[in-house]
Symmetry: D2
Subunit: 346 residues, 4 copies
């Protein structure tokens, strides 16, 4: 059995990790830690998580936790996971950060967008970006994984087949993304209060959101071209789900059918990416609670642009589910272990 | 007192017109007609509309209705309002269509996108597009008004200052729009059922939505350039509200402050358009129940694009409110009469 | 013009008061005060309230505020409004408390349920409970009004005709009430966070909620019988609206029609209470944004109980609207001034 | 492997059955039938159900379906499942009806409340009511199961420990229940349209709802006393979930702690019923997607009533999950097989 610890567990991503791990037959959770709610019963914090009867929230004592863990998941404030990663690496333990500390190979980009000093730039340079559909081989031989952001997961998967095949005109990418409110975190703020969000809709972080360089890094990795994009997130009155609507001008005309073929081929062997038939546009609820990414697409002859919609559950494929997918790869397990649940609809 | 009739009243737009007219001191409603629910009490169909105690839904007998009406509002299936307009014009009555029959000067464009034959192409050629912020003078001297679509209202207002000043690079406009479910109409379908929509989000009509040519017509009117755009509507789990997020590459660099100045100046005298300070992004709920359009914007130096968000209530500024605004102009009344209500929040 | 001040304005009830007062032609707002957000522009705190351009949030300097106000509305933490009331009374100013400090004639009951010492028990003993449908005459000659709670407003109106006519068997009343999340206040907490509330439902404060004695006081006032009730509030995933479902065993059999007649007669002259036809059960959205109370009812012959549903907008008839209704009465204005808006649906 | 067929599959309950069966290692689905959408691919009707790639909706040809099925689930209009049950019984196949045709031992009660003639009264008299927590032994030896209604499941479980121990004063039970909109079915109607339901709340079927006699039958079974209850359902703006708030006057005073002990003991061995600590009131979202029933309770000394809240997912424990639980019992499998999923929150 793999011994897994979670630091920063009292978050939506942490709770989701705990939920998904109840179904993982190769994992036992050894520590549930956070700097909040220390000492409280898990069943008090998450009253729907019976499987953790007897567990309490521990303080994030890194050495103590690493001592009997094979893998540590972190979901901590920016900059805080670095120390955990350094110690995990020193002890040969696997490490998966669900926050942003290990998503950027170039620590300077991270420091620039996050306004935090990175204390282990070499480690982030050697970490792998945990998007299995693109970086699977690297993940398999790595120990430090920067789990992708929720928006980047949906965004990169929406454009990967086009970028990989060098079809996209440089500078033409616009990603208009929409997220449920759980993406704003578990801590109550005016921004995620029910009466502020319900029956409403807004953009935020326009032209400044920190997921922008993360998407650019991955797309540029794919085709070696420097991509500078517009990325606009919006807050939607629902708890879960992300839809990324991506626009890209193609270098040459193609039919919608050709575009669809390209996506079907690219993702033919991917268990978690589903390309819908032409004319079908995925709803976020079609992936709710699951690790799937659904894609719908067309080519607009009038404008020469491909339009692609990509739907994920931000807490699963966009966070905890993908983290488990990465863990499975790190440990040589079947990649989909504990991740085959059918989405819940309606 | 102005005698007003509504044909197609048993719709969300019709109900909203009835609501707003309860506050209009110069109007009395003479007929409430539809091809549904004929003979039923209004209070049974709309149990919150006490002001229409005693009114019943009448059948749409055009001659009978025109006989004692000064103005007729129509919200009918595509193609059906034409007969009403022709008769109203013949009798010198004012006519405002809340559907699409009189939005296109070129009936061929209408026929192409709506798959309906237009029975009075000359009349639509001479009708005025009822967006007061652009066509106010023409409306004042007109008798046949094609009230704009909900998406086009938000979309055109989001780009008007840029287009008017010839700042937009041709072919660069993308409008990613989001609407509440009331935009899908009052008739129950799988598409607007609660359990299908709640906690979910999807795009629809991608690259094919009929509001596309309507937006293009208005923008092309403004600067004389042929605009071909990408327009992508999305269905949001809320009843009311539209947010249009518009992207346009500018011909020259400008600061966000300059962009903001341009919008402030352009809309300085517009009572219903409010440009928020830089950094403030409007929520649809800030305009709920009101005739306002809220705008937030920035310029992204990294990509050379302006990003503008425009929020309206789809049933008010996007339909019934704007129709009353047009009626006020047609009759020489203060433009904001019955439209000064403060939005309801939260 | 009546000069009105609001202390505790940066709340949902305060914002609603500001919204409704924009439509009141006899009132000008002189002060908007709170202990939060002091010095901030109102348009920053409430970006949809343009009518207060130029206003800032003032600190709650009672003497300064009273100096140029004819009436003061308070929406402050428990116990805090007492000082304002004492000073207002001393200066002959009208005073309306939207919180609970002046709802109980017996300060001991208040102190018992609210765990706060009441600093002016004589004043609360002489204050009037501001439910116009029952206490109209007393309000007209009063200066200190305790504006009813949201749940009590809906609950008392649901039972008043039965209690008044001595039809209710003592001890049989159960009120199962449901409220939108705005009732939980504007301050962000886990309890009112979107992702905690959306797609969910729960009871709270069962058998302990502080609106219980308030309902009991009013019902006991009506028929002189000591009513002890079960009151169970529930949190519903919507922003606005309260539905109270009341159950009462009747002393004698009656037909549903007779019950309906009783309610129709009792409320025949009440502009804000609407009794629906038998078989029609009011939705909260039918009263959204308005000062109306809608009632639906039946008599269950199998059990001998009347079942009555009463719907209000918790922020209007349940708070700010009723406060204005009380103000209108205090100043001898038409009771419905600024309160005749048609509800917004859908 | 157990061969299972579903007739009436193109419903929310049917879709949920299909979802849950994807996780059942002892079942293979042989037929998916309905009188709608015949011939369509399952993936077109339920685009999130990949596991049924290749399946099509079949017409409900009973003999053909029974031929290669060990168990048939029906979710058909009232009266329609009787023929299936008769034929299944004749062929020795197991039969589980998710609708109401086999919930009443007395066909006359069924006919009275449902206005349908029952074509096999003897069969319904011998069928077992599929609430395992009460009827487990009978189910184990039965072949025809009437799966309980969603409201009755939550309601009966909320009162069972009290009734079983003869603590409830006859005639005192009131159940005020609240359901998400999926309970109103998958067929689009005005009643389940998004814009009618969102941000709103209403009672319906007051004193007339057909789940009333079903609850009464089960409670009367338990203690041999004839229970006549008030049952009031409400429609809540959420897709899934039921909360039943039950009130019962107890024959004798007891402390909340004693009440809690009674419930803990009664349900001590029930894997799917969870009694929360005193002071904790369950949210429906705590059971979302799962087969659990959560209970919270108190005793109100002021009124002598117990107040109990019971939360289930209406489509799982209230329909498809309980049907699988019954199937597991019928076939001698572990009762929780395929039903151990952790709820999805938030």
């Amino acid at each position: 059995m793999i011994k897994a610890a979670i630091i920063g567990a009292i978050s939506y991503a942490g709770g989701e990790l705990l939920r998904l791990l109840t179904a993982h037959e190769q994992v036992i959770v050894t520590h549930i830690a956070d700097s909040y709610s220390i000492g409280e019963d898990i069943k008090k914090v998450f009253p729907y998580l019976f499987a953790y009867e007897g567990y309490k929230v521990e303080e994030p004592d890194i050495d103590y936790i690493l001592a009997d863990s094979d893998v540590v998941f972190t979901a901590m404030p920016h900059g805080k996971a670095v120390e955990v990663a350094v110690k995990a690496a020193a002890q040969g333990k696997k490490f998966i950060d669900i926050a942003a500390d290990f998503r950027f190979r170039d620590a300077a980009v991270y420091e620039d967008w996050y306004n935090v000093k990175h204390d282990a730039p070499q480690l982030t340079a050697s970490a792998v970006y945990g998007l299995p559909e693109i970086y699977r081989e690297k993940i398999a031989t790595s120990s430090v994984v920067g789990n992708p952001g929720c928006y980047p997961t949906a965004s990169i998967l929406s454009l990967y087949p086009l970028v990989k095949n060098h079809f996209v005109e440089q500078g033409s990418i616009i990603i208009d993304a929409k997220s449920g409110v759980s993406g704003a975190g578990r801590k109550p703020t005016e921004n995620n209060s029910f009466s502020q969000c319900a029956e409403s809709l807004k953009a935020y972080g326009v032209a400044t959101h920190r997921h922008t360089p993360e998407i650019e890094q991955a797309l540029s990795d794919v085709d070696g071209v420097k991509h500078v994009i517009n990325f606009t997130p919006h807050l939607i009155p629902m708890s879960r789900g992300i839809l990324a609507t991506a626009y890209a001008t193609l270098k040459q005309q193609m039919s919608a059918e050709e575009l669809w073929e390209l996506y079907k081929e690219t993702y033919a062997k991917e268990a978690f990416v589903h390309v819908h038939d032409l004319g079908v546009w995925p709803q976020t609820k079609w992936v709710s609670g699951s690790n799937f990414c659904h894609i719908g697409l067309t080519y607009d002859k009038r404008t020469g642009r491909a339009v692609i919609c990509s739907a994920i559950d931000n807490l699963v494929k966009g966070a905890a589910g993908q983290a488990i997918q990465n863990m499975n790869i790190l440990f040589g397990l079947p990649e989909g272990m504990a991740l085959t649940m059918t989405p819940t609809f309606p």
